[in-house]
């Protein structure tokens, strides 16, 4: 009895198993040449980052300070944990109420798991003195500090705790950790 699987026919019949063999060899080469995974980056102890954009901060702060100053605050985040607020406030000059630009440069930090704002510099309408700062800026600062901290706490919920803060030229970045372990 003559075997038909010779020549071209035999070669053709073996192509399909050959294709499967090629896939197996591919896998063997892949697993065989697999190097050790590159060293992992330092563990972050279960912490993650929450970046807040300037438009979001502007909206949040404008809403928070609505009672103190009916204005849209423009937030400019700068490296070095600095946030600059620009807005308009009503001032009374010679008995007339005028709208005047006001600016605050604030330092942002974390104290005992709470966000803390500190006044670095105040740009007040010309002619303003030290008493104007306490009358105009301090209530805004206190309110912003309290409300922003409350907003962050509400956003993070009970599972996450604030452990640090940093900033780039467009984002305020909160470092949060599960359960507050730093």
């Amino acid at each position: 009895m003559q075997d038909d699987r010779t020549g071209a026919l035999g070669c053709g019949c073996a192509l399909l198993p050959g294709l499967i063999l090629g896939v197996i060899i591919y896998g063997v080469v892949g697993f065989g040449t697999a190097s050790a995974p590159p060293p992992a980056s330092p563990p972050t102890d279960g912490s993650m980052q929450v970046a807040l954009s300037e438009p979001y901060l502007s909206e949040v702060i404008s809403q928070m300070l609505r009672q103190e100053a009916e204005t849209e605050w423009r937030v400019n985040v700068q490296p070095g944990e600095v946030v600059q607020l620009q807005g308009q406030v009503a001032v009374t000059v010679f008995g007339r109420e005028l709208s005047a630009p006001v600016g605050m440069k604030l330092g942002v930090g974390v104290e005992a798991g709470r966000l803390r704002l500190t006044l670095l510099e105040a740009q007040l309408p010309s002619g303003s003195d030290a008493s104007s700062i306490s009358a105009l800026v301090n209530p805004l600062l206190v309110q912003a500090d309290r409300q922003l901290d409350a907003e962050v706490a509400r956003f993070l919920g009970n599972d996450w705790a604030l452990v640090g803060v940093r900033s780039t030229d467009a984002e305020l970045i909160l470092l949060v950790s599960r359960g507050g372990a730093s």
């Binding site: 019949c13 073996a14 294709l19 063999l21 090629g22 892949g30």
Partner: protein, 180 residues
């Protein structure tokens, strides 16, 4: 003897063809990268790899009818994809280490998140899976996507924000949130 030689030649040609085809596919396919951060994002959550591993890889993942998968590493791939590696234990009680699957995590149309398979990584060589039906691995990936999406939705519920973009980054996964 002549038949044996022909069969061997056929095997060789077949193996060379499929090996070359897979290698060319792996090198040549540059996927389109539709993922990019949304322009109007408000908040970005950067979840590092080790946290992803800790949250998602704490327990071996049960694959219905296909054993279990114990996650050992998560890295970013091309186009913001995630390459999830781990040890696969089959129902037949044999295991394969360092198996990777490259996944695209995207916003879902109906559900919150869609996770689809892009490539299988056999050690360090990728086996593109683009030719498979899109829902091929959905029985395994859908529950993960639903759980991740549900957890995010619960977390974001009171914030007035919604998920509007997911992009893999060098350090893990970035989730972008926009106004509802």
């Amino acid at each position: 003897m002549r038949g044996c030689g022909s069969v061997l030649l056929g095997l060789l040609i077949g193996a060379a063809l499929s090996f070359a085809a897979l290698a060319v596919l792996a090198l040549a396919i540059v996927p389109a990268c539709p993922q990019s951060p949304p322009a109007d994002w408000r908040v970005r959550l950067d979840v590092p790899r080790d946290l992803l591993l800790r949250e998602a890889g704490a327990q071996p993942l049960s694959l219905p009818g296909a054993g279990t998968f114990a996650m050992t590493d998560v890295r970013s791939g091309r186009c913001g994809h995630l390459i999830v590696r781990g040890d696969w234990h089959t129902p037949g009680d044999w295991s394969l280490s360092n198996v990777g699957i490259e996944l695209a995590v995207e916003l879902g149309s109906g559900a919150l998140l869609d996770i689809t398979q892009e490539s299988l990584w056999l050690g360090r060589l990728p086996l593109p899976l683009g030719w498979l039906p899109r829902d091929w691995a959905q029985p395994y990936l859908r529950p993960i996507a639903d759980e991740m999406g549900g957890a995010l939705d619960r977390e974001l519920g009171p914030s007035g924000l919604r998920l509007c973009g997911v992009v893999g980054s060098a350090d893990g996964l970035s989730a972008y949130l926009c106004d509802r």
